[in-house]
């Protein structure tokens, strides 16, 4: 019998729980988050759900993320090649906003006085140009001791090509000091010193905080295995997460993307764009048969180069504030009313018009059914606010409210164009899977603008991140920079490079009780034309160069098979499949949805108020179907079905909206 498994997602407001019991049944639970000590909410929820019973846990933690964003990490030091102590501070010597004279640049996570230069030097081919002496090691350890740091990052020039000096320093510091020590070769053995340093430093900065949190959790949860969600969409052991906390920086959004993609696949859709619209921002992620990943993330102005799910975020959400700029244009966001004071309709003192207010005014939110009626929405103050905004914009009230929604959509559309068209995908080939509180209100309009014809609103869309954690495999990414021309690479050399990574993978997994036979090892290469500065990921095959030309052509519109290519990195993704929970499949009932119809409501579409069906999602049966205009209400989200869309409930209780042609 498979044990119970609980997925836990710590969010800003709520901590969500999804329990999968021995019989494959799902139970959900929500607790208010406890930001001062997130473990409190986690443990309270577990007590409620399990009542002392044993269970395995998969946890998406924001502890590392918050430590980074709020700059509350460890007191850390950086050990680097002498003469390059400022690489972390100089970065790429650019400013974040070109036309802003007041542009700021956050200080580096480790200040100058804690960046220690070591006399040593390795060259680009891994050749040692200057030996690391025992004396240098000793001086470094002494300096670290004098600084009294809790954590140490080691990043030496060209260590990806030869980690000898990093290893020596790592060993010495670990044995001499009681500190968290992390080296760039362990975290990211890839070239480009600033990005590698930055990633290593983030790990050193958030590592001790994460380790403390996880060991507390591990101590309290004794009756099952605790695993942690990573930014790459896979899960990892508690021990690994303590060492490589940098891998968890985006674990919350990753859970959502994994959940959205997995549910989409189960519903029969392999090409999916996940669309998570919350209060202040919107996350989108394109999955063309697999979760897309990237190694180019920036969190709080700090670059992080470990592979993460390629989630694109824009500052538009339900709480985004609308205003008129001096040129007369209607603008929305990125300023947000957040949870407090929130939109005007929350009645908590908010005075600035938000996207949620506009939706309510247009009838796209039902005031009686918001959060199951727990929170009454106030309509009257919105009419006044819209009236004065409309007068200011010289628009009718309806046009002003619809305008706010359309401008917010334009921002989200831009994000979707970036992840689809800009990367060589046609959005029309994709199904939009939406979740988050506001996604399903905007999905149909967005889909129409992008030529997307199908939308899926999963069951329990509000808990998708926690659910996604139950659907994730154990995944770890290994990589190393080669920088060798493809013509100079024989099979043996490539095999050796992959072999090294695979040996590491097997050893690490074995230490966690996963046998080599259970591992799926996927080999891939980062390839570019010799002389280019940007690489494309290509699955390993005997003929990987041909695949590279094809991918380059699809992405950028041309390829040049005569040009020599170069292998920048080799990568291995080690996947151990987890037992996937079965999802209920129901028999389809008749199409008639009248049993779920609560009545009628008025919604504005394109300036016209239309009588629309008001439908209670909890009463809908698989097989029920209806045409727009309609509004489907449930506890944590609302789905708008415009007149040109049809809606049905599939066997997995998902809403499937399809555009009528």
């Amino acid at each position: 019998m498979t044990p119970k498994v609980v997925g836990i997602d710590t969010g800003g407001t709520f901590t969500d729980f999804v329990l999968l019991d021995e019989g494959g049944k799902l139970r959900v639970h929500k607790v208010l988050s406890t930001p001062d000590n997130p473990a409190k909410a986690v443990l309270a929820g577990l007590r409620h759900l399990l009542n002392g019973a044993a269970a395995d846990i998969v946890h998406g933690s924001t502890v590392a993320t918050n430590a980074l964003l709020e700059r509350k990490g460890a007191k850390a030091a950086l050990v680097t090649t002498a003469g390059f102590e400022d690489v972390l501070e100089i970065g790429r010597q650019t400013r974040a906003a070109i036309y802003d004279l007041n542009v700021e640049k956050p200080p580096p996570l480790i200040p100058r006085e804690r960046r220690i230069g070591v006399a040593e030097r390795v060259g680009p081919q891994g050749e040692v140009l200057r030996e690391l002496s025992d004396e240098s090691i000793r001086t470094t350890v002494d300096a670290l001791r004098a600084l009294g740091v809790d954590s140490v990052a080691i990043c030496l020039l060209h260590s990806y090509a030869n980690p000898k000096h990093e290893d020596a320093l790592l060993g010495a510091i670990e044995s001499e000091l009681d500190a968290f020590v992390t080296s760039s070769y362990q975290v990211l053995p890839e070239f480009r010193e600033y990005e590698r340093s930055s990633t290593t430093v983030v790990n050193a900065y958030v590592g001790p905080v994460m380790a403390r949190y996880l060991s507390q959790l591990g101590d309290e949860v004794t009756s099952g295995r605790v695993r942690i969600m990573q930014s790459n969409g896979g899960i990892m052991s508690l021990e690994a997460a303590q060492r490589l906390a940098v891998q968890t920086i985006l674990s919350g959004p990753a859970g959502g993307a994994v959940g959205g993609f997995a549910l989409g696949q189960r519903a029969g859709f392999d090409n999916v764009i996940t669309f998570d619209m919350g209060g202040t921002s919107t996350d989108v992620c394109l999955c063309a048969g697999e979760l897309s990943r990237t190694s180019e993330t920036v969190i709080g102005d700090v670059p992080i180069r470990v592979p993460v799910i390629d989630i694109h975020t824009v500052g538009a959400g339900g709480g985004s504030i609308a205003y008129r700029d001096p040129g007369g244009s209607l603008r929305v966001g990125p300023r947000s009313a957040g949870a407090a004071p929130g939109p005007i309709c929350y009645g908590q003192g908010g005075t600035e018009l938000t996207v949620t207010d506009a939706n309510l005014f247009l009838g796209r939110l039902s005031p009686e059914h918001f959060l199951g009626g727990e929170r009454q929405l106030e309509v009257k103050p919105i009419s006044d606010a819209i009236a004065s905004f409309a007068a200011q914009m010289n628009l009718s009230m309806t046009d002003a409210a619809e305008g706010i929604v359309r401008v917010a959509n334009a921002t989200m559309e831009r994000a979707m164009r970036v992840i689809s068209l800009e990367r060589g995908h046609d959005p029309r080939d994709f199904t939009l899977v939406c979740f988050g509180g506001a996604g399903a209100m905007h999905a149909a309009d967005l889909a129409r603008n992008l030529g997307i014809t199908r939308i899926m609103v999963p069951r329990a869309a509000g808990l998708l991140s926690a659910l996604g954690m139950l659907l994730a495999d154990v995944v770890r990414d290994y990589s190393r920079t080669l920088l060798v021309r493809a013509a100079d690479l024989d099979d043996e050399r490539l095999d050796r490079a992959f072999g090294e990574l695979e040996t590491r993978a097997n050893t690490e997994y074995e230490n966690e009780g996963i046998a080599a036979g259970q591992l799926l090892l996927e080999r891939s290469l980062d390839v570019r034309y010799v002389g280019q500065g940007h690489e494309l990921s290509v699955p390993m095959s005997a003929d990987f160069e041909t695949s590279f030309h094809d991918i380059h052509h699809r992405r950028f519109g041309y390829a040049d098979p005569k040009r020599p290519t170069e292998v920048v990195n080799v990568r291995v993704r080690a996947v151990a499949r987890t037992d996937q929970p079965p999802m209920p499949e129901h028999e389809l009932q008749a199409a008639d949805a009248s049993a779920a119809t609560l009545g009628e409501c008025a919604i504005v579409f394109d300036g016209d108020e239309r009588e629309s069906l008001l439908i209670d999602r909890s009463k809908l049966q698989p097989g029920n179907a209806f045409s727009g205009p309609a509004l489907v209400v449930e506890y944590s989200t609302t789905t708008v079905v415009p007149p040109d869309f049809h809606c049905r409930v599939d066997a997995g209780e998902n809403l499937i909206l399809e555009r009528l042609s």
């Binding site: 790429r92 010597q93 070109i98 990806y160 480009r192 244009s329 914009m393 500065g533 940007h534 040049d560």
Partner: protein, 531 residues
């Protein structure tokens, strides 16, 4: 005020602002990810933009400010000199005919609808190539005329009816040091324009050509309104400011750049009368650069993000006397005008604005891109190489904050080349890369510090440095001290060190170390008050 169509609504305006901008950005992604010059792929020294049927800019990506006003002149030159047909792409780099300096090659493509005979739009992109020939590798020479600076390309068809014109391509490639790289970059530029064309045509299909065209006009008027609004807030009056270039590298200097700013209601006149005559050395700026620098200064005083387009220029009248440092005539040498003199033009215009609106404008930033070029034969591969890079400095202190250290300012925002990428691609060893502590000017708010970058050449090479602010430091404001001037040093393999002038070209032996120390920014407010 001009307006393309009588009616617009504030919602559609915002939607098109997003659409046009995302097309320009996507063109940039294509160019950056597929190009070969370190200048383009690593340093992002490029710009992509959309233009209406009259060659007026509609949107530019968040790329290089120095290309702001100069891109439209390339499009105008292409229209004037070439009879374009569908599927054509025009290349131009002639500074005296739509270009800025020779390394910046611009590709202009007309966009046609169906079988119409006149283009409805244009797309263009400009990229800084790491070598276009001329007297020293990297094509940023200490030249005395344009003829020494590399291949000069007047507007010519590089692509005709969708096919690359082999004769033209061959002529270009025969004149540069790294032809394989050049061909790759030009191919990337062609692909970038095609991306722009494809997206614009899709937009027309969805919204109709009338609406798309109309909103191009509306967005220009919108940027104009925003700019006029910002100018209206400046008190009417006449403001004068003067600064100088150290020298021209040919023994002439200091060279004054003078501006008289007249603000009248919602319009401004920027008059450079009094500026030095054009000089024999290679720091002359053509008019396109002056236009870009002025546009930049007025763009940064608008307190809202606005599209970079033709509207910004409408309230501005620029007087740049011909034959001066800010409007050079042929056959002036202009390699450094784009990178050096452009920064000083910003310094003087902002200096005048600081008098007009005290408390709003920062002290002078480092004011020189400290251009370092190197070329020779890589002893490891036997292949010729041409390397070019700009090095940031200290930002001027702001009225309410210190200047940032080691950050590119004003007319450029190009990235550094990673040391590990550099040492892999070139016969160099970087010895030191550090913030030049203490170089920012003191003040209530401190100017940012510059950068120290020491590079050892592992094989004999020709080194050219084009830098300024080596004798006259960036000015402080309101009692703040000037930033420290930069320095250029050469250390021979035997350890002997000598100072190089701001503009220098030397052949060095293997083992030589070149050290660049960039200037700090000026301080703001009297340093005594802060004590």
């Amino acid at each position: 005020m001009t307006s393309a169509a009588p009616t617009w609504d504030p919602v559609t305006l915002e939607i098109f602002r997003n659409l046009f901008y995302s097309v320009a950005e996507e063109m940039g992604v294509t160019l950056c990810h597929t190009s070969f010059s370190p200048n383009i792929k690593e340093r992002r020294d490029y710009s992509c933009a959309l233009f209406d049927g009259s060659a007026r800019m509609v949107a530019q990506g968040e790329h290089m400010p120095v290309h702001l006003g100069s891109m439209p002149l390339s499009v105008e030159a292409a229209i004037e000199h070439v009879q374009m047909q569908p599927g054509d792409v025009v290349a131009v780099n002639d500074p005296f005919c739509g270009g800025t300096h020779l390394p910046d090659i611009t590709l202009v493509q007309p966009v046609y609808l169906g079988d119409q005979s006149e283009p409805v739009f244009y797309v263009a992109n400009r990229a800084h190539h790491s070598d276009v020939g001329g007297m020293t590798p990297g094509s940023m020479p200490l030249s005395r005329s344009i003829y020494q600076e590399g291949i000069r390309i007047p507007p010519v068809k590089l692509v005709r009816g969708g096919e690359v014109v082999d004769d033209v391509m061959a002529l270009i490639l025969a004149n540069v040091r790294t032809p394989t790289e050049r061909e790759g970059d030009l191919t990337a530029q062609i692909a970038s324009n095609r991306t722009g064309e494809r997206r614009l045509l899709a937009m027309v299909e969805k919204y109709g050509v009338e609406t798309v065209t109309a909103y191009m006009g509306h967005l220009q008027s919108y940027a104009e309104r925003m700019t006029r609004e910002a100018i209206r807030l400046i008190p009417d009056g006449t403001y004068r400011f003067e600064d100088c270039m150290d020298d021209d590298g040919q023994g002439n200097g200091p060279l004054p750049i003078v501006v008289t700013l007249v603000v009248d209601g919602d319009a401004a006149c920027i008059d450079f009368t009094g500026t030095s005559e054009q000089v024999p050395g290679s720091i002359n700026a053509v008019y396109a650069i002056t236009l870009s620098a002025v546009m930049y200064c007025f763009r940064v005083i608008v307190p809202f993000p606005i599209p970079s387009n033709h509207g910004t220029i409408r309230p501005l009248q620029i007087v740049a006397p011909e034959g001066t440092l800010v409007n050079a005539l042929p056959p002036a040498a202009v390699a450094g005008g784009n990178v050096e003199t452009s920064q000083r033009i910003v310094d003087v215009v902002l200096g005048a604005l600081a008098q007009a609106m005290p408390g709003k404008i920062p002290a002078a930033s480092y004011g020189t891109m400290s251009n370092l070029t190197a070329g020779g034969t890589d002893h490891r591969t036997g292949e010729d190489f041409a390397y070019y890079e700009t090095i940031a400095g200290g930002m001027g202190a702001r009225p309410t904050a210190d200047g940032l250290d080691a950050t590119h300012c004003h007319m450029t925002n190009s990235l550094n080349t990673p040391i590990e990428a550099l040492e892999h691609s070139y016969p160099f060893r970087v010895r030191r890369y550090a913030v030049s502590r203490g170089t920012g000017g003191a003040g209530r708010f401190r100017g940012g510090d510059g950068i120290d970058r020491d590079i050892e050449l592992l094989c004999p090479a020709q080194i050219t440095i084009l830098s300024d602010r080596r004798t006259h430091g960036p000015y402080g404001l309101e009692g703040g001290e000037a930033g420290k001037p930069g320095r250029n040093l050469l250390t021979k393999p035997d350890g002997s060190e000598r100072e190089l002038p701001g503009k220098a070209s030397v052949w060095v032996e293997a083992g030589t170390v070149i050290s660049i120390r960039t200037p700090g920014g000026g301080g703001y407010g009297s340093p005594v008050e802060s004590a």
